[in-house]
Amino acid sequence: MRVLWALLAIAVWFATPVQAEVADVYDFSSRSEEQRFQQLISELRCPKCQNQNIADSNAPISEDMRNEVYRMMQDGASNEEIVDALVARFGEFIQYKPPVDQRTILLWAFPAIAAIGGFLIVVGVVWRTRRREAREQGLTDEDRSRAERILSGDQDDQASH
């Protein structure tokens, strides 16, 4: 048991320094600035090592992009200006969240369209099934009175059929 604890302690000791190697390189005046930086670099995609954001990627181009984000932040640029500047160079590919405009409206609206479409289909199916059931199972007044006659043992009615 003691060996196990020792191993665990060693494992924890070695595991801690691994995380957050990127942020340490940059100096920020405030905590919120640092959070803004982290937010920005986690939303931008590395053009070289696709499917990594530039926060996680070690590719030289990601480093350059992080530097550019940092530099522009120090110059007082807004998030939008920073993203625009990078998109102007590397294309819309680097945005994990595509902007909402005429070309992307279908992309953005698709989940809503699919949900509404699915809902309408379900409503339609339910409505039609109900109507059919009502038609097949429902008794008219004539049926009802006939049934009552049968149940009361009126022989005439049975004989006539």
């Binding site: 053009p47 070289k48 696709q50 030289p60 181009i61 550019e68 102007a88 160079r89 590397f90």
Partner: protein, 178 residues
């Protein structure tokens, strides 16, 4: 009407199939350049051969050129170099080099071993011009027209197939216009 509805899944499946098939042959690692139709970004960088000489965008004006982004550390650049040399010597193509994030001595060693097809080489050790051009991995080759406007970008090795199918048509068109 009801019969037609039965075909709906088939129609949807074929539609999705056509859409997906169109994307099948595409190489997702090759991104379209945002620079097409735009002038080469302003730069002021040293010449690789001579640190005292400063190069700027006027270098890329006057005739149609290829701007080849290369570095000694880039393995594919070694592969394409022989073909670039062939283009420069046999086809009379003007090639301007952009030595990207490299060191001078390494770049010289590369050229000593493989020859120098470049009319002029821009030395960009920090990758500043490369960044402005949206270079995300060497080698990349841009076609620049006589007005210094980017017409095309190829990411990856230039070989005969790339030359005849991609670069040459663009160059011919650029030459025709100017």
């Amino acid at each position: 009407m009801k019969r037609l509805f039965l075909f709906l899944p088939l129609i949807v499946a074929v539609g999705i199939g056509v859409f997906l098939f169109a994307g099948l042959g595409k190489d997702p690692t090759k991104l379209e350049s945002t620079m097409i139709g735009k002038p080469v970004p302003e730069f002021s960088l040293e010449s690789l051969d001579d640190a005292s000489r400063t190069l700027d965008t006027s270098l890329l004006k006057g005739e149609v050129s290829l701007l080849n982004v290369w570095a000694e550390w880039c393995p594919s650049c070694w592969d394409e170099h022989a073909y670039l040399t062939y283009l420069a010597r046999e086809k009379g193509v003007r090639i301007v080099g952009l030595n990207y994030k490299d060191q001078r001595e390494n770049a010289f060693r590369f050229l000593e071993r493989l020859g120098n097809p470049y009319d002029e080489i821009i030395f960009d050790p920090k990758g500043r011009l490369g960044f402005d051009l949206g270079v995300y991995g060497a080698p990349e080759t841009f076609v620049i027209d006589a007005d210094g406007v980017v017409r095309y970008r190829h990411v990856g090795v230039v070989n005969e197939k790339v030359w005849t199918e991609e670069l040459l048509p663009v160059i011919n068109k650029a030459r025709g216009n100017s």
